[in-house]
Structures are given as C-alpha cells and as structure tokens.
C-alpha cells in the first residue's frame, strides 16, 4: 500500500500549486522508493519511459504554421466571420462543433480537429466574438470561461465519439484484455455500446451550452 505515496505526492503537489513537472519527478521517486527500487534505477526507468513517449510532442510541430497564420490575421478573420453571421451565438456555434466532432471521431477522423489545429486559431476566437455580441463588455474572467468552454467542447466531442469507431485504441485494448480472460468478442460488439453514452454526452453538454446562451442573453440585457 505504501506505493500509493506517489499518488499522495501528486495530489499534494497540485493542491499546493507546485510546479507540475517537478511534482511528477517527485511522485515517481516516492512510489519507486516505496516499492524498493534503487534511486538510479528509478531515474533510468523514468528516462526510458520519457524517451519512448516522445511521440506525444508531435502536436507542437503545428505551432510554426499556426503562429504564421495568426500573424496574417487568422483569428481576426474568424472573429469577423462570426460578427457578420446574424444568428450566431456561443451555444449554437459550440453545439454545431460538438456534433461535427462527435460524428467525425466516430468515423475515425480523429486527426481532423484538435486543441492546436482548430480550438486556438478558430473555435476560441469565434466563440469569444459571439459572446462579445451577446453580452457586450465582458470582463477577462468571463472571456476566459468562454474560451475554456470551447476547449472543453472539443474534448467532450472527441472522447464521446471515438469509441464508436471500430479501430480506435481503446477498443483494441478492451478486446485484448477480454481475450486474455477467455471472452472473445468482435470490435463492433464494444463499439455499439458506446452509442448511448455518445447521445447522453451530446444531450448533457448541449443543454449546458443552451444555458450558457441564456446566461449571456440575461447579462446582455442587464448591461444594456
């Protein structure tokens, strides 16, 4: 049970707002020490896993082209487009994005969108522009909350769409784990059971987005 020390270090570190990168190294040292692994072997294990996880950094290769497009006005153009669309609201914009994201993830088109490719340069500025029109004079915390909602919508859409696709990693993992337990199922048998949760995710998040529109409308009228 002592190996749970690492989880305690993570919780304490995040709660006390220490630097997360340092907390991660401390947590690895704590759990490894509790499991009786020698410090140098522990550093080596951490390094080995770090080296084989370099693939998660590929996302950052997009920054030069995103930054270049932004320097040439991509965010400004996205904002201007929303300002011209009469009926555009934050709720409608994000609900439409949620639907597209869920459907495309369900078809295996996971790479079609993401936090660096679509949320930062397009979705977040569009949502901010729509909110600004619904309730003029929003303060910075309110703007941050709208942008955070755009990022949240991308995550919800992706997570609760991708498991309907047959060849996604989690389905293959489930199949592998159940195979080992002597239960042999086909991938589609898992993926159909992702559909109720996908519908529930759309209903719950969509309802919250409608409430966000109402809150902005109330704020806009109150301010006018």
């Amino acid at each position: 049970m002592l190996v749970l020390l690492g989880l305690g270090v993570m919780l304490a570190g995040f709660a006390l707002r220490w630097n997360p990168l340092a907390v991660i190294v401390l947590a690895a040292l704590a759990s490894g020490w509790a499991a009786g692994i020698a410090p140098l072997a522990l550093i080596a294990a951490l390094g080995k896993a770090f080296n084989s996880a370099r693939y998660v950094m590929i996302l950052w290769l997009l920054l030069p082209v995103i930054g270049l497009l932004e320097a040439y006005g991509l965010q400004e153009h996205a904002r201007a487009l929303i300002e011209r669309l009469r009926g555009a609201t934050v709720g409608r914009l994000l609900t439409g994005y949620l639907l597209i994201r869920q459907v495309s993830a369900a078809l295996g088109l996971d790479a079609a969108a993401g936090q660096a490719q679509t949320v930062r340069p397009l979705l977040a500025p569009m949502a901010e522009a729509a909110a600004e029109r619904q309730a003029p004079g929003l303060d910075q915390p309110a703007r941050d909350a709208i942008k955070a909602m755009a990022a949240a919508t991308d995550n919800v859409g992706r997570f609760f769409g991708e498991d309907i696709f047959l060849a996604v990693g989690s389905i293959l993992l489930m199949k592998g784990v159940l195979d080992k337990a002597g239960i042999v199922l086909e991938p589609w048998q898992f993926s159909v059971w992702a559909i109720p949760s996908a519908l529930a995710a759309f209903a719950i998040h969509g309802w919250r987005l409608r409430r966000l529109d109402r809150a902005l409308a109330a704020r806009g009228e109150g301010g006018a």
Partner: protein
Amino acid sequence: MITLHAVYLFAGLLFAAYAGLNLADRGHPHRLGNGAFWALMAASMLAGDRLGDLGNGLVVAALALVAMLRLTGPGAEPSADAATRAARAARLGHRLFALALVIPLVALGATFLFQRYPALVEPKQGSLVALAASALVALGLALVVLRASPRVALAEGRRLIDAVGWAAVLPQALVALGAVFTLAGVGDAVGQIFAMAIPAGSLAGAVLAYGLGMALFTMALGNAFAAFPVMFAGVGLPLLIRAHHGDPAVVAAIGMLAGFCGTLLTPMAANFNLVPAALLNLADRNAVIRRQAGTALPLLAANILFIWLFAFRS
C-alpha cells in the same frame, strides 16, 4: 521506410532553433532559462536513443529543475500588431481558412495513403507521421501563398512555445510517470482497495464501485487505458461478469467511457486539460477542467446507470 525517427529529427531541429532564438534574444527576461529548457528538449529528440536510460532520466530531472526554479517564461513580442493583423485578414479573407484547413486535410489524406501503401511508413506510426507531414505541408503552402519569410514562422512558433513553456513537456512526463507507477505496482494496490471496499453480494454496489473506480483511477493515472485492465480484472470480471452474469461487452465498453469522464476531470491528463489552457493563455491553469466538470459528472452518473440497465437485461 519513414519512421518516427524522421519526425523526431524535425522536432529536434525545431526545438534547437527555439533554444537558439531565445539565447540570441538579449533583452529577454528568461533568455537563459528558455534556452536551456528547449536545448534539453532538442537533445531528447535528436539523441534520445543514444543517451541511455539514465541519461534520459537526467534530462527529465534537469527539465523539472529548470521549471521548478521558474527560469522559463514568455517574453517575445508578436511579429505583427493588432492593426496589421486586421488589415492582413481583410486582404486575405477566406484564403486564411483554406490554409488552416490544409492541416486536417493533409493529415487525413496522408493517414489513408500510409494505410494503403504500408511500405511507405511504419504502419503503427502512420497517423503520427501523417500529423507531422501535415504540419510541414501546411507550413510550406502558407509560406508560398502568404509570401512570408520562414523566419516569421520560426519566430511565431518560438513565441507560442515560450508562452506554453514547461507545460509543453507535461504530457510526455506524465506518460513516463505512468510507466514508473506500473513498475511500482500502484495499479494493483488501488485495485485491491476497491475490491475490499465493495459490499458482498450487492449488484448495485458492485456497479457503482466499478464505474466510480474507473473514473477515480483514471483521474489518478491520467489515462483510462491504464485504469481499465486493473479495474476490469479487479471488479468487472470477478463481480459484474462472473458473479452477476453481466454482458461483458457492456461492462467493458461503458466502463471505459466512465473512465473517459475521469479524464475530463484531472490535471494528470495534461494534453487534454492543461495544454489547451496554456495554448489559450488562460489565467487559471485548471479552467478547462472546471468547464468540463459540469458535463463529466452527470455523464459519469449516466454511464453507471447504463451499465446497470444494459448489462443485466436477462
């Protein structure tokens, strides 16, 4: 055959350029810290396979040290001010959207191409190589259409990566932490606790423990993939499937999705939750998690209900 090594070479050169740009920026308040941080990442990308396990571990420790001492930070000014950007946007119009769309289109096209011709790219790495290819192709096209200098792209990339700072390395470091946790047996310890906590014979109790356990365990590890094998072996298989004759497809599929609700709630899932907050320059590091909680909690309840309703139909 193209493998991830080509991608790591590209990334390593990019990080080396960011380090160089920072070191050459004499007025920058975090010149040396940023320079050291990105130089370490460049070393990991370019020479990770030759550094040895201990060498890579020391790179991680050094990155953490630079971050802990608050030596990194943003600083460079955007290459174009707001008025210039607005004027350029008015002139270029939808061409900007078209260039932005090149990224997903090339990523998808390349993924299909690599699946069709498995000799081109190591099959398991196809979608990752495709994403890197899309970044390169989109950059090339944008430079031509905008008649921009590659220096502007590098300077803007460096400005954005400096703004993200040490958070850029969190996803990779968390994957490494997960591997150390597995080595130390953290998963087994958590599984034992949940197995002990369940009241014997209660179906509702077992379903609740399994669903909540998937979410909580995912929050602790930052990854539903790490939580699933442990919770399934500890609770799902012996209790829900063997003792209560639940449908294994439902128990597995919706159990995994209960775990995904946990992913929405934890800073440990840095690439989904902390990276966007950094990319959007939000004041609160946990702002995205706070927005997601209102969806994730009712959705977790729905998933637990779905397991109870659909897995025990007969």
